[in-house]
């Protein structure tokens, strides 16, 4: 089975009452999503993204053509048991509590009570809703409902995850966390079919994308290849003197090329996250979600956990990139030979973060997440990177981090 999702001239025509064709919602769609890739289905509103997903899952019958999920029919329970699905809105039973909701879905998969119990706790922890686990879902904000929706899609440890607009209704931190989660799931060998019109999401996490318009694929390919401007180069430096800038300009002018010099802007996303995280660590009360972003241990991975973690923390550039600015991570990975140069270039791009303060915040953060039991996973989280719980790594991370952000902000 080469493809996780494959469609053969999938077509959906909505007809009127008399059976006359009215709208071609999806038109001869041939889609191939490979195993273990994050695939983004993009398109404006009404371009047939959701209709495609509904046909994949058997919620709509295709007018013509066929769709295979994991090599089988999307309505077959055997296939369903390996799929996680998050619809465009989290359609939840309002009268169930968060915990009951997950329990209900766990029982639909026929999971034994003990496994269910274990997974529910892990998932609640992961999406940061442990504190409100016994509140009715109907009282949740949209973002919180979204998190439960996501947890629901993961309860069976799916091989294929189908997410329809996973970040709608989420605050920037939630968005960031879900993007991180998707990346980590991909690292664990899951295939993700992501459907969105929020381009930033797609850009950050997807390996390949297809752009849909009018039910047809307009273009598809690897994100990097589609977006990279091969005729441009970008250099990021520390705050160098004006005379050096002049020298560089002369060097560039010698090659007959244009050169623009400016101070890189922080990405609004990173800035926002930093502010809110700081407030969270001062334990300011909120009724919303408090996420630890711990990934559920039950979510299987193809390689042993240690090796991934080791890889993540030992490689100087990629780990934080994969979490903070994944789009550029791939660029960085592609430039692997220049790694040392890149590290040199990015050193102390900004005044280094105030570490003592950060440590205090970390202590506060520990108080906030009372249930943070297995702390070895916590080091992966944004929280850690921002607060510097493990200073030996965070120093290095912070610097490269901001430089990455600056780079993408500039680009």
């Amino acid at each position: 089975m080469e493809y996780a999702v494959e469609t053969f001239s999938l077509t959906k025509i909505f007809s009127d009452w008399w059976g006359r064709a009215k709208v071609y919602a999806v038109d001869n769609l041939d889609l191939q999503v490979r195993q273990n890739e994050v695939f983004g289905l993009l398109g404006p509103n009404g371009s047939g993204k959701t209709t495609t997903l509904k046909m994949l899952l058997g919620l709509l019958h295709p007018t013509k053509g066929k769709a295979l999920l994991l090599g089988g029919d999307g309505a077959d329970p055997k296939i369903n048991s390996r799929i996680g699905f998050l619809p465009e809105e989290s359609y939840l039973y309002r009268y169930l509590t968060a915990r009951e909701t997950l329990d209900f879905y766990g029982r639909l998969f026929g999971l034994p009570a003990k496994v269910r119990q274990m997974r529910i706790e892990a998932l609640l922890d992961m999406v940061g809703l442990k504190a409100v686990a016994n509140r009715a879902v109907g009282t949740f904000s949209k973002g919180m409902a979204r998190r439960i929706g996501l947890a629901q899609a993961l309860i069976n440890d799916p091989d294929l995850l189908i997410l329809d607009e996973p970040t709608t209704g989420l605050d920037p931190i939630g968005t960031r966390q879900i993007k991180d989660l998707m990346l980590r799931l991909a690292e664990r060998g899951k295939t993700i079919l992501l459907c969105s019109h929020l381009l930033a999401d797609v850009e950050d996490v997807c390996d390949r994308i297809a752009i849909l318009y009018g039910g047809r694929i307009q273009t598809q390919g690897r994100v990097r290849e589609l977006l990279q401007q091969t005729n441009k180069r970008q250099i990021t430096t520390d705050a160098i003197s004006d005379s050096t800038v002049e020298k560089i300009k002369q060097l560039v002018a010698a090659e007959d090329a244009e050169c623009v010099v400016s101070s890189p802007m922080d990405k609004l996303e990173s800035f926002f996250i930093r502010i809110v995280m700081a407030a969270q660590q001062q334990a300011q009360p909120t009724s919303g979600a408090v996420s630890t972003t711990k990934i559920g241990d039950f979510l299987t991975r193809k390689e042993p956990m240690e090796s991934i973690l080791d890889k993540l923390v030992s490689a100087p550039v990629s780990p934080q990139a994969s979490q903070e600015a994944p789009a550029t991570e791939k660029v960085a990975a592609a430039r692997a030979p220049d790694e040392s140069l890149l590290t040199k270039l990015t050193r102390s791009a900004e005044p280094s973060p105030p570490e003592p303060v950060a440590r205090d915040e970390a202590a506060a953060a520990q108080a906030v997440e009372a249930q943070a039991s297995d702390q070895e996973h916590v080091r992966e989280s944004i929280l850690d990177r921002l607060t510097g719980r493990s200073p030996d790594r965070s120093h290095n991370k912070e610097k490269t981090d901001t430089s990455q952000a600056g780079e993408s902000g500039d680009g």
């Binding site: 009404g46 359609y91 879905y105 639909l108």
Partner: protein, 451 residues
Amino acid sequence: MGSIWAVATNTIRQAVRMKVALVFMVLLFVLLPALGFSATGDETLKGRLQTFVSYGLSLMSFLLCLLTIIISIYSITSDIEHRQIYTVITKPIRRFQFLLGKLLGVIVLDTILVSIFAAVIYVVTIYMPRFVNASEQELTEANNQFLTARAALTVPEVDVTKEVRERYEQLKKLDQLPPDYTQDQIIAELTKQAQLAHRAAGVGDVLVWEFDNIKPLAEGMFIRFKYDVSPNPPDSQVYGRWLAGDSQYIKYGEPVKTPIYDQVHKHVARTFHEIEFPAAVVPESGRLAIAFMNVPLNATTVIFPPDGLEVLYKADSFTANFVRAVLLILFRLIFLACLGVLASSFLSFPVAILFCLVLFLTASFSGFVVESFDYLSANIGAVYSYTLKWVIRLLPEFDKFNPTEFMVPARLLSWSVLARCAAVIVCLKAFLILILGLVIFSYREIAKITV
């Protein structure tokens, strides 16, 4: 099975937490005891009990029927309407399992509610004699005629075909046939007259009924009857001399070993009455004769309507009968739950509710409906009997299996009647309806069309 049960428990949770069930429970909890105090009937203890049980069971049945229709439809259509079904149906559960889960949830909920309310009615009934200062006589009457389960022996309509045929030939010979009527109409009219003649007693006449194979369990036996009179006596009172005993004596006056019951009673016409007589009069052969004599005091013809005379004897306990009557209600609810599943498999909430309510009301008066259709469709017989007739026949006859019809006269609701009801209403009709609903739901598109 695990996933079906998951859906079922979720449905029960929904019914409980959305307070749908709660409203009905409060209603019943308020209304039932209120009924217990307000229902006085004809002021006797028996009357009180009859009124309470009849109103109580009817009320419970009616409210739970409504509740079943609403919950079974709401829980399915709201899942589709609010799209929770997207996340449920994409899990490893087949669509028919989803519907079965919903159905199971409703049935479990119904069973719980029926048990609770039946228990309330039962307890109030059993303890009512203690709250009401009933006289000894009233107590005995209530025990014998209400807090029991009696088998009934009915009188079949006399076969008068031969008689009518002869009469018709005779009229034809005399050329006295009414000119404007067809042969069928004349024969029907003659049959009616002949049958009436067998049930009517002129002044001084005697009517005799015979019953075979009687094995009474209790001391007392009962004649339950209703007089029709023509012309009406001034105070509507009818005097009747009633005899019960060995048919050898009653028919031929031969001396017999067993005692003979022989008494004159005065009763109001046009309502049912009961006369108790000792079981000792039943001869060893088990062949019992009942005779009615229209005493000359009356000066009116007394007619017994077709179902106007029965002999009752104790055959089971009140408790057992009550349990079976409650099961009858449960069968009704199961049918309605299946009907709700069918309706919501292809209709939206308001339409499905309307659809089910219409069918429910039709089923409640099915005898009337079938009769009127039979009458109206006399001219389009072929079309009717191949189409609409079968649709109407598919409806359960709730009025035929009405629990109060059994409970009020303390009539035995035997296991065989109950089994027949289960077979017809649940195993056949509800099952067919459910299968239809499952098939429709399995092939329909769940998602809404959104472009």
